[in-house]
């Protein structure tokens, strides 16, 4: 039962990783570089939520605001930086994204200071389900994450812009020939990637503490999940995030808090050695 409880806790943790990994994998699949600023956009989401929460007392409104701000910041990073570097090497874009992350982190450090801050949530009695304690707050957070994930998958698979995103990821040359306007597709993609990770920021902020470094610290597990899931595959990122989150929590009794991240990396390494393309296929073509 103890482990079942850890697994439940891990699911929420896993959702945060999933959201970040999905943002990374979407950008990688379509713009084709690993965006190291993803974590810091997440932090932007957390701080945005933190500003709105005391004013409204509504987690939903905080979440919506955080999603909007993070989406705007991600779009701005595209318009101001990444779009201008289109066609450069992956390394150039990666380094640029590390720089964008630095800038965001510094701005947030200046604006909010480095003291850890918390969402002061009212205490609530956990639901009892069998022997499991389920925190109502966790349920709300999970709901927020699921809404974002459903929205992302719906946009990708049920809308014209989503079809075009997948088309660009699949065969950029053919997409251009087909008259698909990549500028619009890119803008929509960055809004989506920012929105997803903004929701993750609020979740992480509510679960832990908010500080300028929080997103940067999430970057490695998020990258791990994106690669583990099969880079470019949103469904894979989702699945891998869950697995890493649950594995981290369940390993804590054995390896302690400090090494749980190391363990999730060990799992990732083993899977990748056996299956280099990750858990699931990718949205981009293999070439």
């Amino acid at each position: 039962m103890y482990f079942a409880q850890l697994a439940v806790n891990g699911l929420v943790q896993g959702l945060v990783i999933s959201l970040a990994a999905m943002s990374i994998t979407l950008v990688f699949g379509i713009v084709r570089f690993p965006n190291a600023a993803t974590g810091d956009v997440m932090t932007v989401g957390a701080f945005s939520g933190l500003i709105v929460y005391p004013l409204t007392g509504s987690l939903l409104l905080s979440g919506v605001f955080a999603v909007a701000v993070a989406a705007a910041v991600a779009l701005a990073s595209h318009l101001l930086v990444f779009r201008r570097l289109a066609g450069r090497s992956v390394v150039a874009l990666l380094v640029a994204s590390i720089g964008v992350g630095f800038v965001l982190r510094s701005i947030m450090g200046l604006a909010f200071g480095h003291q850890p801050m918390v969402f002061s949530m009212p205490l609530s009695r956990p639901y009892r389900l069998g022997g499991l304690a389920i925190n109502p707050l966790d349920l709300q957070l999970a709901l927020l994450a699921l809404v974002m994930l459903v929205l992302a998958f719906a946009i990708l698979h049920l809308t014209p812009i989503g079809r075009q995103m997948r088309a660009v990821a699949d065969n950029p040359a053919l997409a251009r020939v087909s008259g698909i306007r990549s500028g619009r597709v890119m803008a929509a993609l960055w809004v989506l990637a920012g929105a997803i990770v903004g929701a993750g920021g609020v979740m992480l902020g509510v679960k832990t503490v908010v500080g300028p470094e929080m997103g940067w610290d999430m970057l490695m597990p998020a990258f791990a999940a994106a690669i583990f899931g099969g880079i470019g595959s949103p469904a894979g990122a989702l699945l891998a995030g869950f697995i890493l989150g649950v594995a981290q929590e369940m390993s804590t009794p054995f390896v302690g808090f400090t090494y749980k991240i190391a363990l999730s990396f060990a799992i990732m390494l083993i899977v990748l050695l056996k299956r280099p393309s990750g858990l699931l296929g990718r949205i981009e073509g293999v070439r």
């Binding site: 812009i161 997948r166 699949d170 020939v177 008259g179 296929g281």
Partner: protein, 252 residues
């Protein structure tokens, strides 16, 4: 209603790939283009369809000069091409491949998606109907929901044709539609081409399968070393001494 290419020249690093190529055809014509490998046929297609600018010369379509127009603008004007090696969005379904080939929808940006959902849905429904019509015309119903990457070579050729049809073209440039396709499917593709031509869509077809091609087209252009060597009735052209020397090595 004609298509004309006038004095097209194209040089790469001083090497002349196309030398004063001129051709003209009615927009509802069914024309073949043959020539040995390296004669410049595919390069001519690329220049005509706007994938490469010519070094000199111009293309007029339906009386309008197309110089300086991008490939997608030319496609919207009604002139589309297919590729020698079929291209597809391999992870999208056949239906999605077709739907992605007809851009210009309201749902192509997020604001349109959220602000005008009704319009987006209507356009999507219309687009899906068109895609389904193309799918059943090409007899691809059984694979409509499969990933395009899983299709056979011949089915990919049909999908290429389908993608061209989605932009409601007046003239389709087919680059080797029969290459690597089994004989049954070749007959099928020829049948579809005839049917489309009957509806007034013109075709300019590059093909090495002379047997199939001469049964299909009413006129034949022969290219050799970047220039037009001969043109006319297929049977007469293939009987021409110069053509036989250049293309058939003088034996056939």
């Amino acid at each position: 209603m004609t298509f004309e290419a006038v004095d097209i020249c194209k040089a790469f690093d001083g090497f002349e790939v196309l030398r004063n190529v001129s051709m003209s055809m009615p927009l509802d014509g069914l024309i073949g283009l043959i020539g040995p490998n390296g004669a410049g046929k595919s390069t001519l297609f690329s220049v005509i369809s706007g994938f490469m600018p010519p070094s000199s010369g111009h293309v007029t379509f339906d009386g309008v000069s197309m110089n300086g127009m991008s490939a997608s603008t030319r496609a919207r004007a009604g002139m589309v091409r297919t590729f020698q090696v079929p291209k597809e969005f391999s992870h999208l379904s056949v239906r999605e491949n077709l739907m992605a080939a007809a851009p210009g929808q309201a749902g192509e940006n997020l604001t349109g998606l959220f602000l005008r959902p009704g319009l987006v849905r209507r356009q999507e429904d219309g687009l899906r109907k068109r895609a389904d019509a193309v799918i059943s015309f090409l007899r691809l119903d059984r694979v409509a929901d499969s990933s395009a990457g899983l299709l056979s070579g011949g089915q990919k050729k049909l999908l290429e044709l389908g993608r061209a049809l989605m932009v409601e073209p007046k003239l389709i440039l087919l680059d080797e539609p029969f290459a690597g396709v089994n004989p049954v499917l070749i007959g099928e593709i020829m049948e579809r081409i005839r049917e489309l031509n009957g509806r007034g869509i013109g075709f300019l077809i590059i093909e090495h399968d002379l047997d199939a091609l001469t049964r299909l087209v009413s006129r034949l252009y022969v290219m050799d070393q970047g220039a037009i060597l001969a043109e006319g009735e297929p049977v007469a052209v293939l009987a021409d001494k110069a053509v036989r020397d250049a293309y058939l090595g003088g034996e056939a």
